[in-house]
Amino acid sequence: MERNLTHIALFAALVAVLGLVPPIMLGSGVPITAQSLGIMLCGTVLGARKGALAVLVFLALVAVGLPILSGGRGGLGVFAGPSVGFLLGFPIAAFVAGLVMERWTAPVGLAAGVGAALGGVIVLYAFGIPGMAVMLGKTLPEAALLIAAYLPGDAIKVVLAALITRGIAQMRPGALLSRP
């Protein structure tokens, strides 16, 4: 039981640390960061429940005022801004990614990639686009258009999540908690 707690805590810290990796700035404001890669990893490595809890703990600490969102952002202001949809979708994205890893019996790399794509891209954007639409006063298709520039970066992150998860499974077979 202590292991559950520490796994959640350490992976929440990992997501925070991945936010410190310098982002690549693109056009309309949402930078390409390594942090959503961390969200995907929470799901694919820890599994659905613990991955989602790790991300929730991370979000709680952002809300409470720690500058651990990528770019040193934090506090309640980020939940009032245009990326609020993505923030609220983070835990669900991790949950879906973990669910795919746990339930699908495909090889680790493939399951992790599909999980990261389903959770970290499709589900996440399903939350992020409406959030952006509301905050920027745009319609859904307009918001989707704004976000389209980030899809290539996220496609790369899906592949990386698959490669990293497979790397962990190869180096330390027992360590992958989503596939005990």
Binding site: E2, L18, A60, G77, G81, L136, A175
Partner: protein
């Protein structure tokens, strides 16, 4: 790990966190609900007058926290100039900045410990479902303690990679970094068990 609370003392620092959070919720709802341009503009300016009343250092801190919004503001300006709808653009922009400024105001005037206390209160009903507040507090403390540790580990791994390879370190450093997180979790769990468990 530094928090975003402002060291400059303002009258708001003394208000209870729960009150400020409730006021923030109310303000955001009102901001999105007001349609009359005059009352909307007056409401939207409230956070800024409060920020200004905190003094120049406080105001500079508040402006710095608004900086991440600038790409969206440029985008909105261009978009609404292009569609010839500047009034709507101004409304959306003012609403966005005002909501974010109000939320930042709460963050800047509330201490971390007070915010954590609010979370404890909010999570209290979950105690009967097996989530004692002490465990939640321990989890938060562990995250805060381990962020610098994992950051240092990532730097170490990156330096080791640079020392052993001509290529620049990219995604491959994240495999040992994630394994480090898993190993640290195991060690800390052992330490917790040795000290009587997390319950």
């Amino acid at each position: 790990m530094l928090t975003l609370t402002s060291p400059v003392e303002t009258p708001l620092h003394g208000v209870r966190a729960g009150v400020k959070l409730a006021a923030l919720c109310g303000f955001t709802v009102v901001l999105f609900w007001l349609k009359n341009p005059i009352s909307f503009a007056l409401a939207a300016l409230i956070p800024f007058s409060m920020i200004a009343s905190g003094g120049p250092v406080f105001a500079r801190h508040a402006l710095r926290m608004l900086r991440p919004l600038w790409p969206f503001l440029v985008l909105l300006a261009l978009w609404h100039w292009w569609t010839d709808d500047l009034a709507q653009g101004a409304t959306i922009t003012l609403r966005l900045i005002s909501a974010v400024a109000a939320a930042n105001l709460v963050t800047m005037t509330t201490r971390l410990s007070d915010m954590l206390a609010v979370i404890e209160v909010l999570l209290a009903p979950l105690a009967r479902f097996g989530l004692p507040p002490r465990r939640v507090a321990l989890t938060f403390a562990l995250v805060i303690r381990f962020i610098p540790v994992l950051a240092g580990r990532l730097t170490q791994i990156t330096e080791a990679f640079t020392a052993r390879s001509r290529r620049k370190p990219r995604w491959r450093v994240l495999v040992p970094a994630t394994l480090a997180a898993l190993d640290d979790a195991d060690h800390v769990a052992e330490a917790l068990r040795a000290r009587g468990g997390a319950g």
